[in-house]
């Protein structure tokens, strides 16, 4: 591929600072987690040892697994909507003037600039039963009863997409702006209609960006905690909520650790899968 496709092990020294940091701040908690996940928690007392109780419970209690898959489903929805809404933005950012590009980029990032808690309060005032939308619709007599816009899956997805859109748009924009536009020009000057150019050139060439963005949003969605708590009216459960609850209310670190490790494993699997796909795509 490039001149230095020789097995360049020398470059790996650049990892040193981060690896050293991770040894202390990541590996240690991870080991602690592993040890705790095999401990036993009975009558409020944690006994270290080598018990499989926590793992057995995950697979046998009939609720943890279900919530895990529910979290996966929710994350897929969120990722899907981020892609659908984010792609047009990235596309426009690529082909507009620098000033507009800056403004768009800023708009996309701006939800991240407010605290997650406050953002959700704002949504409450818009989507609530007597929020702006329902009030207006009732005033115009379009509906007679308020629409359930939050305290359900819709509300959670909306609020999460709102903030994670930026994690989709930035990689997409990166990928799109690295596409050499002369290929597209050539195609369209040869008379190919825009959708044809889009489907056969722009979209495939932006695939690395799509993969990166989707992976990022999916992973982050798997860890989402506070938004479902507020926007879901507590009806929507995610695995991080279960983990937090177990720690905060039952002080049951062993079970929480086992769930956290499972979550980590699942996400790790996703990352490896997606970077494999990414490599496949970039080889083409």
């Amino acid at each position: 591929m490039s001149l230095n496709s020789d097995q360049n092990y020398g470059a790996l020294w650049l990892l040193t600072p981060t690896v050293l940091l991770y040894l202390a701040t990541f590996l240690f908690p991870l080991i602690l987690l592993g040890v705790l996940s095999f401990a036993k928690f009975e009558a409020s007392i944690t006994t270290l040892g080598f018990y499989f109780d926590n793992y057995i419970k995950i697979f046998s209690d009939g609720i943890t697994l279900k919530i895990f898959f529910q979290t996966v489903r929710l994350s897929i929805y969120i990722t899907f909507w981020c892609l659908i809404l984010g792609y047009p933005v990235a596309l426009l950012m690529r082909s507009c003037s620098p000033k507009i590009k800056m403004i768009l980029l800023f708009c996309v990032v701006s939800p991240l600039l407010t605290s997650i808690i406050v953002r959700n309060v704002a949504w409450l005032l818009i989507l609530g039963r007597s929020g702006m939308i329902n009030d207006t619709l009732i005033q115009w007599e379009l509906i007679s009863k308020p629409l359930p816009l939050m305290y359900n899956e819709f509300g959670v997805i909306l609020a999460v997409v709102h903030v994670y859109l930026s994690f989709m748009v930035l990689p997409l924009f990166g990928a799109l702006s690295s596409i050499n536009s002369s290929i597209e020009e050539a195609a369209s000057s040869l008379g190919a209609p825009f959708w044809r150019v889009f489907l056969s050139i722009t979209l495939p060439l932006s695939l690395p960006g799509i993969m990166a963005g989707c992976t990022l949003v999916f992973i982050l969605s798997m860890g989402v905690y506070l938004t479902p708590v507020i926007m879901g009216g507590n009806f929507i459960l995610t695995l991080p909520m279960l983990i937090t609850e177990s720690v905060r209310e039952q002080y049951d670190w062993p079970y929480a650790s086992a769930m956290a490790l499972m979550l980590l494993l699942a996400i790790g699997f996703m990352v490896v899968l997606s970077s494999g796909l990414q490599r496949l795509v970039s080889r083409r």
Binding site: L14, P88, P111
Partner: protein, 271 residues
């Protein structure tokens, strides 16, 4: 530039602009409402506010608690951002230039802190900080925040590096430039959008981090902690005022970074 306009005219530009307008409205509406609400003169949040005033700004700006927590959060984020950029960029280079067969595995490892639920990371770090007697101090906050911001730098810089053509750097080196010179003067300017994105993410994530810091702090309070504890008790308009203030600060910093990063010119510098 003209070529792009040519392409653009072929694309159903209006449709695109329409869709994006809706998306932008969706993104900005809650923020606008938040800002408006921060100017309420009432003691609770409602929209539109029955009366307006700067009462809550006065309260925030004269409250020692709020000011202390804002400055602590700003200081942490300011230290964390450059460090995380340096660590993360180095790691991204290592992944990009290192042996290809190790790349996937290593990348997964390097970004894995991102996926660990914060409450769990928080506990582990907390137990360690207790042992080392550094809890409730910067020596604990900064490594903790770095751990969760570095993956974002690795991802955004990595994405830029992936599209970067190494031949440019090789050309410079074949003309006698040192590797460092080539990276500093050719590679870094080109991957600038990735660096800027990484810096923005680092700053914001550090600034907004709640759970891990919650474990590590005792007497010191960062802004998210102060906000959360206020909110747990009562949803007061001071929250909206603080958010508007921090929105202004972070928006300013982000805008500065974007302008500095010239994210819009991107990789056109060389072309």
């Amino acid at each position: 530039m003209s070529s792009q306009e040519h392409y653009g005219s072929r694309f159903p530009y209006r449709l695109l602009v329409g869709v994006v307008t809706v998306v932008i409205f969706f993104l900005e509406a809650p923020l606008v409402i938040l800002v408006i609400q921060s100017f309420t003169a009432e003691s609770y949040l409602a929209f539109p506010p029955p009366s307006y005033g700067v009462r809550w700004y006065k309260e925030v700006l004269t409250s020692e608690d709020w000011l202390n927590s804002i400055s602590l959060s700003l200081i942490i984020a300011t230290i964390v951002t450059p460090l995380s950029l340096i660590f993360g960029t180095m790691a991204a280079f290592a992944l990009d230039r290192g042996p290809k067969k190790l790349k996937n595995g290593l990348q997964a490892i390097m970004i894995s802190p991102m996926v660990l639920p914060h409450i769990v990371l928080g506990l582990g770090l907390f137990k360690m900080a207790l042992e080392l007697d550094i809890d409730d101090s910067m020596l604990a906050y900064i490594p903790a925040h770095l751990t969760i911001t570095i993956p974002f730098v690795i991802i955004s810089v990595g994405a830029s590096l992936q599209t970067f053509e190494v031949t440019l750097e090789e050309a410079a080196r074949s003309l006698g430039a040192s590797r460092f010179w080539a990276v500093w003067h050719i590679t870094l300017p080109i991957i600038r959008p990735g660096l800027v994105a990484g810096a923005i993410f680092s700053f914001i994530i550090s600034f907004d981090e709640f759970i891990i810091t919650f474990f590590l702090t005792t007497f010191q309070r960062t802004l998210p902690i102060e906000m959360f504890s206020t909110l747990m008790y009562q949803v007061r308009p001071s929250i909206a005022a603080v958010s508007t203030l921090t929105l202004a600060v972070t928006a300013f910093l982000t805008a500065m970074l974007m302008l500095r990063g010239q994210i819009t010119s991107g990789n056109k510098v060389i072309k």
